[in-house]
């Protein structure tokens, strides 16, 4: 039996969702078959509904961000497996606004395919549907990776900003344009000192010798291409910040939203310590960290690690960040 408190990997998801819906009955409704969550009190001003989803194991993403000001529905798959198209299709039908549905999709082949099939079905039903692809992970920005950068920590930023914009009644095209701008202005990097526990085997997904750091991990517990000695966190965070600043082409005076995100097994003390180091590193670059989130919001089960996300911001985006949201997990 695995160290998870769950009778099986499937019941880890099913019981978790049931308990989530029970705990937050004021915020969400769960439709167990085919498996999606909708906002109990969606934002009134919207013409376009926001739907996201992805493999389970990244909680509170996405269901924790369903509610007024963020998502209208979320579709959780099995652990680390994209939801199937019918989940997405039915969730989208259930919440679609007069102006259609916008899918927020993390850039993974499985997510793209399943959201893509659902979109075809929605369009066939006469429901307008568009997609914003989140692809912020700098570690997978490589000519060797034909599928492009993974979608990771920036997903929460995209969901928050698009949610606030949707509340203002923006139409599908405007939301797509905004979402693409936010995604293009976001980069993330993640590191880990220990793999997650595989729910299938009960053992760590990979073995990492003590004192070693997996640099550039994703949120599915895959290892990265690069293993290096673990250095002190101040210089590690400064290195990571340098790479993100360069990738986004940030110059002194530029403003960003920062997310320090725990991957699951990382303690709040560590995350806040990282935030402290990140603030110093950005100050060295003359970059203003205008808003921030320090929390475990896009996890990889119980992986011991963290990600940093920087998103370029301006007055408009910062105002969207500050707009109210009422979901189970939004805390900024």
């Amino acid at each position: 039996m695995s160290p998870y408190f769950a009778a099986s990997p499937d019941s880890l998801v099913d019981d978790g969702l049931a308990g989530f819906a029970l705990a937050h009955a004021d915020l969400v409704h769960l439709i167990p078959d085919p498996g999606y969550v909708t906002a109990a009190a969606p934002s009134p001003g919207r013409v376009v509904a926001l739907v996201s989803g992805g493999g389970a194991g990244h909680e509170p993403l996405h269901a924790g961000f369903v509610g007024a000001g963020m998502l209208d529905a979320a579709c959780p798959g099995r652990i680390f497996a994209s939801p199937h198209n019918r989940q997405i299709y039915e969730a989208s039908r259930a919440v679609a606004g007069s102006g259609g549905v916008l899918h927020v999709v993390k850039n993974y082949t499985g997510d793209k395919i399943n959201f893509g099939i659902a979109a075809e079905r929605l369009q066939h039903d006469g429901i307008r549907c568009a997609r914003v692809l989140v692809d912020d992970d700098l570690a997978t920005d490589s000519a060797d990776i034909a599928v492009g950068r993974r979608g990771t920590g920036a997903t929460v930023v995209v969901e928050k900003l698009l949610g606030a914009a949707a509340d203002q009644g923006l139409d599908l095209d405007a939301l797509v344009a905004l979402g693409e701008r936010v995604a293009a202005g976001s980069r993330s990097l993640a590191v880990a000192t220990a793999a997650h526990t595989s729910p299938a085997t009960g053992s760590p997904a990979f073995a990492l010798p003590a004192g070693q750091l997996e640099y550039g991990v994703g949120i599915h517990g895959e290892r990265s291409g690069s293993t290096r000695p673990l250095t002190d966190p101040a210089s590690l965070v400064a290195d990571m910040a340098d790479s993100l600043v360069i990738a986004l082409g940030l110059i002194p005076g530029d403003r960003v939203i920062t997310v320090v995100n725990g991957l699951g097994g990382t303690t709040p003390l560590e995350l806040y310590g990282v935030h402290h180091h990140l603030a110093a590193a950005l100050a060295d670059h003359g970059v203003t960290a205008q808003r921030h989130l320090v929390d475990s919001v896009v996890t990889a089960l119980d992986m011991r690690g963290f990600s940093l996300t920087l998103t370029r911001t301006d007055d408009d985006l910062t105002a969207l960040w500050d707009a109210p949201a009422r979901t189970a997990a939004w805390k900024a």
């Binding site: 099995r78 652990i79 680390f80 497996a81 199937h84 082949t109 499985g110 299938a200 599915h220 291409g225």
Partner: protein, 198 residues
Amino acid sequence: MTHTATTWLRTFAAAVLAAEPDLTALDQATGDGDFGANMAGALRLVQSDLDSLPPGAADGEVIAVAARVFLDKVGGTSGPLFGLLFQELAAAAGDGLTSDALATGAAKGLAAIQRVGEAEVGDKTLVDALSPAVDALRGCPDDLASAFAAAASAAESGAESTAGIRARRGRASYVGDHAVGVSDPGAVAVGLLFRAGA
């Protein structure tokens, strides 16, 4: 001819369930470790849907059961891609699964998978097993069992060949050299699919 397709799918299901730990381990090493559970879960659903199929159902209807399960109830990358393959195999099989139908269905399935997934041979995906299998089926003798056997051998060596590759598509592309030396689980499963009919 119900017997043919049913036996094939049930044999495939049994093979995948038996291989689940191996498939999990391959996806753990090259990807995110969910492939074994995803395929096993799917094939348990296929098994139970086959149980409630009326006796005498045509091969195409039988295979369509698998297509529906994979397309409508199974996520991940593998769910819809195997679904597309079964959908084309079901259409080609119609009343009876022949070696021609197998060849046509597999070829159309490969095309659909490549349209959706955009992988080429050499990208370290199931295409590396399915594409040589399609080639082997082309101009194969009119004997279903030997067609399956030829496709299986081709798929299996295609799957083996993926071990040497540094991936460019699929999740193995993220782990760099860590995936070298390990076969692609989707390609291995395609080998199991054809071997189940041989």
